[in-house]
């Protein structure tokens, strides 16, 4: 059989008592006689009664659901984040609505509204590459829905955020390249309107400056996917003098670079050293294995959810904006090895 779910009314009718009695019995209210409780619970079990979360939510203005706005699910980092969020939510009885924007501003605004419609208790956001306006996010706040950013923070909105130290990670990555002997380092960067893009670029620049290397603007390319690498790598490798190091804004870009370098008959790291950012599983699968900056997505997701729960429980404005900044860790592997002696 496949009928509609049982309600408190069904139980009341079956037992010839009122719905309020049933309601109280189900939540073990002290006023209700043991006998009645017994009967109610038995019937509830028999009917597979489950409270209607929609009704509960309507009554209490709490949906017990949180929303996640994420650029693309199919990336190790982002799926790790979701996994962390999901586990933290499960532990605390929340459900998670996941919305992917596919990096589109328009879609980001749509899903933000959908989450508002559903009266989610809070939202975790990592903004899309193309988002430059953020009214859709302040709209959520204006409606009493707390926001927490992870990874891709929006600088114009004052709220909690959980990130790795992008600046420092980039600095470490770049300095490591210098320490293994690179002097002509290319940075493959993400768009500047993403804070991570900007910070990682600044980290790169500063590392060069601090080591008395000239920052050549022509050594910085907007290039953050393997497709873009495909497009631009030829031109980059043809430059004179040829770059001897790459710091890529993420692992998949770094690996695409390695593959093209190898295809061009050059060697990593002997001719060109490469560092990525993220430390996904691919970093140990590619060959040579990839030196990269660790970025623990699971932890980031988990902590972001903890922040959000605080805000949900203590009131959206009760807390001053907090940042959780994970210290980046440089994981050295083959793509910068052999050059270590130069250090």
């Amino acid at each position: 059989m496949s009928g509609a779910p049982a309600t408190i009314k069904d139980i009341a009718r079956l037992l010839g008592i009122s719905v309020s009695t049933v309601s109280r019995a189900l939540k073990d209210h002290p006023d209700i006689s043991a006998d009645t409780k017994e009967k109610v619970n038995e019937t509830a079990r028999r009917l597979n009664y489950r409270p209607n979360a929609l009704a509960l939510g309507l009554k209490s203005s709490k949906s017990n659901t949180i929303g996640v706005i994420i650029p693309e699910i199919v990336h190790f980092f982002f799926s790790s984040v979701i996994s962390g969020i999901e586990d933290a939510a499960y532990e605390t009885g929340y459900n998670v609505m996941v919305c992917q924007t596919n990096e589109m501003y328009e879609r980001e605004t749509m899903v933000a509204k959908a989450l508002l419609d559903h009266r989610v208790d809070g939202v975790l956001v990592s903004v899309a590459k193309t988002s430059t306006k953020f009214d859709h996010l302040t709209l959520l706040q204006d409606n009493g829905i707390p926001l927490v950013f992870f990874d891709r923070v929006c600088a114009f909105i004052e709220t909690d955020a959980v990130v790795v130290d992008d600046y420092k990670g980039a600095y470490m990555a770049s300095e490591h390249l210098i320490s293994v002997g690179c002097r002509n380092i290319v940075h493959l960067s993400a768009p500047e309107n993403l804070l991570i893009g900007k910070l990682r670029k600044v980290g790169y620049c500063r590392a060069l400056e601090d080591n008395n290397l000239q920052v050549d603007p022509y050594n910085i390319y907007l290039c953050d996917t393997s497709e873009k690498v495909e497009e631009k790598i030829g031109r980059i490798l043809d430059r004179h003098p040829r770059p001897d190091g790459f710091f890529a804004v993420n692992d998949s870009t770094a690996i695409a670079v390695i593959q093209h370098i190898k295809k061009a008959g050059l060697k990593v790291p002997e001719d060109i050293a490469v560092v990525g950012f993220g430390d996904g599983p691919v970093a140990t699968i590619c060959s040579p294995t990839l030196t990269t900056i660790e970025q623990n997505g699971y932890e980031i997701g988990y902590e972001a959810m903890r922040f959000l729960l605080d805000r949900i429980n203590k009131g959206i404005t009760a807390i001053v904006a907090r940042k959780k900044v994970f210290a980046p860790v440089l994981v050295k592997r083959e793509s910068t090895a052999r050059r270590f002696e130069n250090r």
Copy 2:
């Protein structure tokens, strides 16, 4: 400011008209005067009015939300599936609640109940490795919530399913190994209680039999993660005669095998050829690149969502159980190359 979201009542009060008029005006009911509509819409815009999906859901018994039960989000295949589901849902105005079970039966039952509580309009499921009872899923059906399986089907429940042809894929993979000269092929399998585990194993066995090779039960290991490979690979490579081919139930297991073979000083594919299942991005990143069976997660998710929408719209029982079986494609790469001449 961050107040509670505006309601239809707020608009009514502000305009000094009744809520029913507002409701009708907002949905462009023909009865309402252009003038009133104008005023209502203007006020709605000004207040950022958004209909309360909880109230709507309560009234209509439709939450406009679907649930997804998935073993682990952090796998390329599963995250691709979610991405496909998510896109299909977005196109049709549905929201997606994602629940990961971490392969635990107990958690699977919990999330199934949570989805029932939220009165989701339908559920997409890929069962956990450890699930052998399925009352929690029939519970959903009994409550009028349609179910569609993807990838990890439950054989005991009669409903739609979207999968690749696991049997055939495994058959092709194994036969390919034979065709490149392997005669002593190990199969690293998933648990038998998973239909995919069983079918892939049967495909392997049948391919051997059809090619006059003995199926040696000792050549079949329960080993479906890189951790388990770590544990068992030593023993397997020490066997005499040494295996000359591996068919692994998924890519990450296959790649772990390749890495260990290389570490043991043997060559892939010259000494041992390896085939995986899934064709994730890692298959082209590892070295040698991995021959594997394509399994398009995005398509599977997208189609599963289409099936589910049909069932939601036409009534849960109106349709006889349909299976969408994607034809597997063997993608030949280096991990079985060079041996091609033997074909």
